[in-house]
Structure formats: C-alpha cells, structure tokens
Symmetry: C2
Subunit: 268 residues, 2 copies
DNA sequence: CCAAAAGTGTTGACAATACACCCATGA
DNA sequence: TCATGGGTGTATTGTCAACACTTTTGG
C-alpha cells in the first residue's frame, strides 16, 4: 500500500499526497502527473420503448478489444467537463439528436464502475448514466457523428457486449424498473402528448407484466401532477377502437403512494 | 472540443483516442499520460444513530484549502483497487475498526461528483459512498490511522464542511431516508441484537417523525425475513419498563410493501 | 353487427391507522 | 403504586385488485 493513501490524513481526496505515490516524480506539491493516471469516461445506457419491446442504443465496435461487438455509447470526460456534461455531449454526437432536445432529456447517473481490469489496456473508471427517450428513428437516419454505427437493439437480444457493459445494462434495467414504481419517470419514454394506453405500455414493457387497464387509469389520474389532460384532444391508437384522450407529463416527480409491480417479491 | 472525444467512435471509454488529446505527447497508442490526468478518490458519508440523533463521521482538516474545516473521510483510489475496495480501506484506516468488521458493513455507492472545480487545486473525480454503522465509541478512543482527528458530529451541526461535502452529506441523508422505506436497511444501524424499540428509533431519527409503536411492530414482524427473534433473550432499554425481546437482522433485503414515511409528499 | 380499444362502476379482500388496554420492571 | 416502555387487541377507514359493463370507433 502506498504512503499516498495510507498516510493521507486529510479529508476529501487531497492531492497533496500525490507527491508521495505512484511513479514518484519528486517532492513538488500538487504534481498532477505523480500518479499512474486514471482515465475517466462516461457510458450511456439509452433506453426506449419501440413496439412493446425495450430497446437500448448500441454501437458496433471497430477496433480491438471486442472488435465487432456491441458496446454502449460513451467517451472521455474532457478536462473542463463534468461527467453529466460529457454524457449529454456524447449522447448528442452518437444519436444525432438536436442539442436542445438532449439538454432537456432525463439523464440519471446510474453508478460508477471502477474494477481495475474492466478495460484490458489501462485503468478506466467509468461513470454510467441512463437516458430515457421516446421512440425515435434509427440513429443512422438522422446522420451525424457516430450515428452511422449506432443501432437500437432489443435488450433481450444483447449478447456478449464489450467490456462490462452487460452488467451496466442490467443495472440500468433494474434501476429503471424500480424507478417506475415510485417516480413519474415513465412519461420520459413517451412523446410530448400520449394516451394512457401508451403510458401503460411503458410499464408493461419495462416490467414484463400485464396491468389492469381500469385500475392503472385510476391510479395515474389520482396522482396529482403525474399527467395533465390536453383538452379536447384525442387520437386513435390501434387503428380501431375508441379514440383515446391525450395527456402531457405533469410537474410531479414522485409517486405517492408508489405504483408497485404486481406479484413482485415475497409479499407478506 | 478535443478530437479525442469528438471523434472517438468506439463504445466504452476507448483509450485509443488518448493519443489525440490533452498534452499531445505523440502518436503512441494507449499512452496513459497523454491526457491531463484525473485524480480519482472516494468520499465516505459514514452515518450512525447515537442517542436519537443522526451523526456523521467527520475529520478535521489540517491543511489548506479548508484548513480547520470538517470534511468527510476519504482518499485516493490506488492503482489496483476498485472504488469500493478503496472505500473499505479508508474506512478501516480512519475509524480504527477491525478489517473483518469493515468487510461485513453495508457500504453503498451514492454517486460520483465530477464538477471541474470541486477541488481548487486539480481535477478530482470522487466516488461517494454511504456506510451505515451501529453506534460505536468515538474513533479516537480506538486509535489507529487518522482516527485521532475523526469525530462523530450530529448532522444538524455540520456547517460549512470542506469542498462539496455538504452536498454529498445531503445526498446521503436523502438516500438513506428513502432506502429505509423500501429496504431492510435499518438493521444496519443496529447492533447484532436489538429490540424493536431500537429499530423504531432508527426510523424516527432518520425521518424525524414519530411512528405508532404497535403498528410499527406488526409491520416489521409481518415482513418475512426482516428480523428474526432471538429465543428467550430480553433486555431493558430505557432503564425502566418491561424488558424487550431481542431480534437479529433477517435475510430479507427488500421491503414489500414499503414502509412509507407518514404525512410525506402530496399524498393523493 | 362485430371486434377492438377507451372509459366507468361496483364489490370484496385486505392493509393501515388510531386507539384502548394489559404486562413487566425500576424507583 | 406510579411511571415507563413492551406487547396485544380491535374497530374504522381506506386502498387496491378483479371484473362486469358502457361507449366509440373501423371493418
């Protein structure tokens, strides 16, 4: 164990100690190059619901390692960027979305992956984010950046992605599934105006369970600020049937009481 | 924007691109020193309940910046360590706890703080963790490491801590408060054997609300695997009153249905 | 008219609350 | 015996799940 960490004795990541560790370049204080450097990146699990199936945005790798494998989009955090800023920038570059739209998207920090050997070449610490977006065309159709190598892939068909991205994707699915229970996050998967049937499809797709339509409707409408009716608007959804009323996302973010998954866990 | 990130085009934090960015040291691939380095640290919000008040473990800083201010314990992630391993190591060093005990503690990754100027000296990306520990003596009494400068401080009395540690502490309180609702985490604040009154005190302390004793008891006992009775054992808690039965933490981790805070949020 | 989807009503099971009440112990 | 905290019982209230039913559209 190096003296840099063992004897630091200062709260909060104190770079003073850097002079005593790593490659040992001398006693100069605050020497940013004294340690073997860590690369800091972001990885993005961008999820959407297309045709009743949860999809994730993946990019085909062109280089070793994992050449030809699918990987989550992501990239380096630049010297003057926060991780979230880097995530939004990468999202814009790799999907071809308008920056104004990217700025308003729901982006949530998932967790940070820091196993020493998660990248075989060097030490890479990656801050993972989850982005929830409404259904949109294939990234290639919009062009720009790396979008030509990006594709929406059903999460069930993702096999052997690069690095530890299978784990990140699993964590993202878990997080989103449980966040639907106690937040109003589901509207992030929907276009600006949506029917309650479409909102219900989000829950059913992410959870993989069917929900009782009348009860779901009551629950959503009984939660103040979850959705707001668009007066007079209606739209046909399945081609047939009664046109459904349209709603917008409301100002609420929390869901009290929560909307729990049915038949989940060892209920008492 | 540097070409390193803009043109990366490879999923998953690809160090190949490092040669094109930062200090520009040449075309050698995988050059770990090509970028202005990021320091990666961990910060720990170690919480406990002492005498009905939530406390956090803080360390008095000895050096500038923020000399004399309180700071969360933490330190550098070593080259061959994951962030969680680093967090456990720092926890052992700064509290003087036995490593075996530290290994079994509940440690949860909170989030990563990466604002470019959160440390005035250099770029420090910090992975924050929350640890929940039972009430224990002052760190100084156990000695070892930096424990002589560490103290338990009531969270209400923490003013102007170093760096962005006020934000980290606030996020930790928020996270722990909501985790009590839908997980069995409260037992992590208790000693190995505890009474239901002590468990209830954890909820009341963290939430700052009173709970109905009989209903709390029924709720906990009705959740399978939350607590397990210690047969025949009993202990006096307040000096007076009927001795209370003792319980151990059970194998369950989730709480279905959740134990919601009373009068919380805009209930429907 | 039929199928399909939206929307409304009703009912029974069960959970949460708010208490009243009893038990065991120290002072 | 009184104060204090543990433990039990119970009635009211409300919420949720299940399902029957009506409405509105396209074929």
């Amino acid at each position: 164990m190096s003296a840099a960490a063992a004897g630091r004795g200062d709260g909060g990541g104190d770079p003073d100690a850097a002079r005593a560790g790593g490659t040992g370049t001398g006693p100069a204080p605050y020497d940013p190059y004294a340690f073997e450097p860590f690369a800091v990146t972001v990885d993005l699990a961008v999820l959407t619901v297309r045709g009743g199936v949860l999809h994730v945005l993946l990019i085909r790798r062109g280089q070793e390692p994992y050449a030809g494998a699918w990987a989550l989009p992501g990239g380096f955090v630049l010297p003057r960027e926060s991780a979230e800023t880097a995530a939004r920038r990468e999202l814009a570059e790799e999907t071809g979305l308008a920056p104004s739209l990217v700025d308003s998207l729901h982006l949530e920090q998932l967790r940070t992956y820091s196993e020493p050997d998660r990248d075989p070449r060097m030490r890479v610490v990656s801050v993972a984010f989850t982005a929830l977006v409404p259904d949109m065309p294939e990234p290639a159709a919009e062009g720009g950046g790396d979008a030509d190598r990006a594709r929406w892939v059903p999460v069930g068909e993702v096999t052997q992605p690069a690095f530890d991205h299978a784990r990140i994707l699993a964590d993202a699915r878990e997080r989103v599934g449980s966040k639907l229970e106690y937040t109003c996050l589901a509207t992030a998967f929907c276009p600006p105006e949506f029917t309650l049937g479409e909102l219900r499809a989000v829950y059913e797709t992410v959870w993989g369970t069917a929900l009782d339509r009348p009860n779901f409707r009551r629950k959503v409408l009984a939660t103040p600020g979850f959705v707001e009716a668009v007066p007079g608007a209606a739209r046909l959804t399945g081609g047939r049937g009664k046109p459904a009323a349209l709603y917008r996302a409301g100002p609420a973010t929390a869901l009290h009481p929560p909307l729990l998954r049915p038949t989940e866990g060892p209920a008492r």
